[in-house]
Every structure is written in structure tokens, then in C-alpha cells.
Symmetry: C2
């Protein structure tokens, strides 16, 4: 198995006991490990190999909880509650502070850390990528798009505030992301935009590029084109959608963090490759979870789900080949982290495993 010979496999980061905790805090690690195996045996085996002789401690769950809390504080502070126009601010806060795992901000902060910058330097861009992510959810949920009424178990923004406010809240979140990144006040005093303006400009360029016709929007356009057609979406088209709708912003999150943290061009390119792999991995795992979850929920075979309308990796490749693809992507991602300081690489390494093993 590729990862067993990977330099990072020898870094003995403690993975197996942590991942279940992050995924299902209330279950025992034994039960959680069984849970994993049932769904995602190959990748779990890989992770187990890496953690077989764990000595280095890294508390991934605590890392994620702390970073999410800090990001939530930054997001909360970025939008005034109650100030006019109140309906707009309320809608922005409703969508932005609805919870979520804050995976993108965590990637941004961790990438800043691996590049050598204190993670705090990347808090402004970390908040910005979450604003962009939220904007894309709000607009994609609109009646004229995916027409979704529920998001994270709550009524979607347009259901609560009406369509016009939902469109405008999305626009405001998008511009706020750039305002936040460009504002001195968003950064700690030792890294305000006036001290590292070239990094900030480059990071803003990365963020902007992943949104429009090279990123989120392009993915949504092609996704909409596929909706309602009875034909099976070819693998190439499916990958285009995922690379744009999902991977582009994950890539930007990592690259922006790396830029702000002072990474060299060569480091940035390695981290970009890491991010592209986990970006696609994120979606492949989503597709696998869709199938395996449905199977359990329905008490029916995965074959039933494969016959459904939605084109997924399991539908195109089969479940086993999808799992192998996921394993390959995880391995590709973690390979890019070799050569970085092992301690500083731990968060990005664990984030890759988390994305591979997550249960929702």
C-alpha cells in the first residue's frame, strides 16, 4: 500500500483513535472503527497502517473545535446584528452562522501553519472562504436553481427571508469576503495588509478565481445543464462539475492560507496538488456516503441507489472502484506533504484523513 512507505507514515501521527472521535464523539472508538470499516474499508486500512505505531500526539478533534470556534467568532464579528438594513444583515448572519464543520477555514489556517506563518495570520482569509462557501449555498438553493428548502436541517435563506433578500444576501456575502480580506482590521497587528500587501493581493486573486467561470459558478452552470436529462453524465463531465463546484474552493482555501503564511512558490504548488486531491476526494466520499447511507436507511442494496437519477462515482465506477479511487486521492494528497516539517504538517495530514473518513 503506497502510504505504508510514505515518509509521513513513519511520522507516527496518532490517527486511528482521533478520527472516530471527530466523526462521532459519543461513540466508542471500537464501534466507530467498525463503522468506518463497514463503509470505507480500504481507506480505513490505510489509515490504520499509518497509525499502527503512533507516538506523536495530535489532537485533531480539539484542533477542529478550536479553529471552528475562532472562525465563528470572526464571522460573528464581521456582520453587525440589528444594524440597518436589518433584514439583510439578519439573512447574512442566518446563512453564515448556521453551523457547519468549517472545513474550508480549517484548511486555510492549517495551510498557513504549514507554510510557517502563525495560523492567526490566516484568520481573515479563513473567514472569507467560509463567506464565499455560504454565498454559493444560498444562491444554489434558490428556487430558480436547485430549489432546496432545507440546508443543515434548517429552512434555507430564501424560505425564511424571501428570494430577493436571499439573492442580495449572497451578493453581500461575496463582497464582504473581499472586503474582509482587504481590511487592515481583519488581521492581527503583525500581519496587516499594509505589511504583506503582495501576499494579500495574490490571495485575493486566488479567491476571486475559484468563484466565477473557472470555479463554483462554472460547476453550478454545468450541473444545472445536467439536471433533468435522462442520460448518464460521463465521468469527465462529473469530474468537471466536482472540480469546479467543490474542489476549486477547497484548493483556494489551502493556497490562500499558504500564500498568507509566506510559502514559497514551490511549496504553494505542492499544497495546490494536495488540495486538488482532497477536493476531489471530498466529493468521491460524498458520493460513497450517499450510496452506503441510503442502503442502510432504506435497508436495500446499493444497486437500487446506483439506478437512481443522480450520477455519482459509485454509479459510474462501482462502489469498490470508487473506494480505490478515494484511497488513491488520499495517498496523492498526503504525498504532497512530505518534505514539510512533520509537526506543522499534522493538521493538513489529519484533515485529509478526516475528509476521507467523514460520515456526513
Amino acid at each position: 500500500m503506497a502510504l505504508a512507505f510514505h515518509p509521513l507514515a513513519a511520522s507516527r501521527v496518532r490517527i486511528a483513535p482521533l478520527l472516530p472521535a471527530a466523526v462521532a464523539p459519543s461513540s466508542s472508538s471500537v464501534a466507530a472503527a467498525r463503522h468506518h470499516r463497514r463503509r470505507f474499508s480500504v481507506v480505513v486500512a490505510t489509515a490504520a497502517a499509518a497509525s499502527a505505531s503512533a507516538t506523536t500526539e495530535f489532537d485533531f478533534k480539539a484542533y477542529m473545535v478550536e479553529r471552528a470556534a475562532a472562525v465563528n467568532r470572526a464571522l460573528d464579528a464581521a456582520i453587525p446584528a440589528g444594524e440597518p438594513p436589518a433584514a439583510l444583515h439578519e439573512a447574512m448572519r442566518y446563512a453564515l452562522l448556521a453551523g457547519g464543520k468549517r472545513v474550508r477555514p480549517a484548511l486555510c489556517l492549517a495551510a498557513c501553519g504549514i507554510a510557517g506563518g502563525p495560523e492567526a495570520w490566516a484568520m481573515a482569509p479563513a473567514a472569507a472562504v467560509e463567506m464565499v462557501h455560504t454565498m454559493s449555498l444560498v444562491h444554489d438553493d434558490l428556487p430558480c436553481m436547485d430549489d432546496d428548502d432545507l440546508r443543515r436541517g434548517k429552512p434555507t435563506c430564501h424560505v425564511v427571508f424571501g428570494e430577493p433578500i436571499a439573492v442580495l444576501a449572497g451578493d453581500a456575502l461575496l463582497s464582504l469576503a473581499f472586503h474582509h480580506m482587504a481590511s487592515v482590521g481583519s488581521y492581527p497587528p503583525d500581519v496587516d495588509p499594509e505589511k504583506h500587501p503582495a501576499r494579500v493581493v495574490r490571495a485575493i486573486g486566488e479567491l476571486a478565481r475559484c468563484i466565477g467561470s473557472e470555479g463554483l459558478v462554472a460547476g453550478q452552470v454545468v450541473d444545472l445543464e445536467m439536471t433533468g436529462t435522462s442520460e448518464v453524465v460521463p465521468l469527465e463531465r462529473l469530474e468537471y462539475i466536482h472540480l469546479h463546484k467543490t474542489a476549486a474552493l477547497l484548493e483556494a482555501s489551502v493556497v490562500i492560507g499558504a500564500i498568507i503564511g509566506g510559502a514559497t512558490d514551490e511549496q504553494i504548488e505542492r499544497l495546490r496538488k494536495y488540495a486538488r486531491s482532497i477536493g476531489l476526494l471530498f466529493q468521491v466520499v460524498d458520493d460513497i456516503l450517499d450510496v452506503t447511507k441510503s442502503s442502510e436507511e432504506l435497508g436495500k442494496t446499493a444497486g437500487k441507489d446506483l439506478a437512481s437519477d443522480k450520477t455519482t462515482y459509485p454509479k459510474l465506477l462501482g462502489l469498490e472502484k470508487s473506494r480505490e479511487f478515494a484511497e488513491k486521492l488520499l495517498s496523492d494528497a498526503t504525498e504532497q506533504l512530505a518534505g514539510f516539517d512533520k509537526e506543522k504538517a499534522a493538521p493538513l495530514l489529519h484533515l485529509a484523513y478526516y475528509i476521507a473518513h467523514r460520515q456526513n
Copy 2:
């Protein structure tokens, strides 16, 4: 009259013969001057006073035509035609290249010039402000907002491309604006973002601020709140809408150009005041034109229009007081240009008069 004693009145810029040409190229300046007087006597008288002893030549029409052509070339080059996703790019190009006077880019370029930078330095931000302006038109025209079918005499974006693409084209234009401003390739070699990154960060912050809950979006939210209510919008509320929907982006256009051109903080603040005055002036003139145009078209008195649903300055203040207000705003704006080099100030001075005297 305030302007008669204004330092710039003594600069003898040639205004009167130029404005009619800019406004109505085919009519003689005498006929055009009469046209002006009929609508906007006080302001015209002010302009006439300033131009009474004109000696300095400034060909405003040629200036605007040249700048618009350069901006259109930049906009055309910024969005690939035919490349996938083709529908998205087509919709973006349809909305962005539909014509228009390119007043905002001209303000941006002129402000860069008055600040001492070659105007070419501001071409990227000038294109960006037009992208933001276009985005706001596309989203404001949506069925769930103002539900407009026509824009500049052509079917609106959602009529041609459908609602989903219109929403997404707006999002893509908004992100493209920031990408364009942050990209080395958008600037001439002597002022790429790597050479003046602090200016670029500050300019991006200005652009971002004028879009969201402190700018365009806030104005549209309050405007929507007023729609359909039978009550007369109070002056304060009307001004809030206009300051946010119209003036904010005009202000950003000027301030961004000044920043890129290397203006001092004190110069930037004077130009900001100039821009705020012409921003409101822009809207007051719009309202006056609405009334006077309707009167001519309908062959009825202005009183009829004043009784219509839409709250306008003439409705709240009366036509004469609105004209006086416009004159005051024009005078306030041009006052801020005193102290700048007269030749470099000519484009912004003429832009103020143009905004005051325009016929559409």
C-alpha cells in the same frame, strides 16, 4: 453664484461648446444650449459663467469616446467568448458589452490622472467598477427584484439566458471584478500589483465596501422595502437609497482611481467628497429628467408626473428646488477640485458638468 468665484472658474476650461456635443452630437451647440436651458436653467447658467472666457481647450467628447473604447476593449478581453461554460460567458458578455456611457470607468481613469498616475494604471480597476455596475443591473432586473424585461433597449439578461444563468452571471461578474483587480496581467508592466500592492489592496477594499451592506445591496434592499407601499418615501429615506444604490459605486470609482494613481490621503478625501456630490447629483438629475422628459413626451404638466407612484426629488422638493439642489451639488463637487493641477483636473471637472447636464 458660488462657482463664479471658484478658482476653477478662472481656469477657463472650455465647457459650454463641449457639453452639448457630448450630450447630443448631432445638434448644433445653439440648439443644444437652448435644450439645456429649458430643462436645467440654473445649472446651465453656472456652467456658462465658468466658460464665459474659455481659453483652455479640453475636448471632453473625445476624452469620453476614447476612454469608453479602451474600457470596452479591456472588458472584451476579460471574458473569453465561446470557451466553456459557453452559456455563462455569453451571458456575462451580453450584459457587460451592451453599451452604456462608461461613466464609472471614466471617473476612475480621470481620478487616477488627477492624482498624478498615468490613467493607464487605472484601466484594471476601471473595468472592475463597470463589472460591478453590470452585476448590480443584472441582479436588480431579476423577476424576484425589479422584474425588468428591458435594459438599454435590449431584453434583460434573464429574459435571454434564463434566471439561473442571470444569477450566476452576476456572481461571476462580481468575482471577476476582484480577480481583474488582483491580477498582474490586468495592469501595464510599470504598475502591476507586485509593484504597488498596498494601493491595490486598498482599492480592492474600497470596491468591496461599496457593493454589500454599505453600498449597492443596501440601497436595493431599502428600495425594495419601499416598493408597493402607498406612503410617500421621506427625503431621508430617498437619499439613503440613492447614496447607496448610485453614489456609493461612483464614489468608489473615483477613490479607487485616486488610490491607484498615488493620491495622498488628503487628496483622496477631497476626491471622495467630490464623488459623493456627483453621486447624488447623478440621481437628482435622473429624477429631474424623469419628470421633464415625461412632461414633453406626454404633453402634460409636470404636476401629473409628480402625482405618480415613484418618489423623486421633484416630487418631494418641487422642480425648482430640485434644480437648486443639483446646482448646489455641482458647486460642492467642483469646489473639491480646487488645489489640483488645473489641466489634470479638467476631466473630473467636465465629468461633473456632464453628469449635471446629461439628457439621459
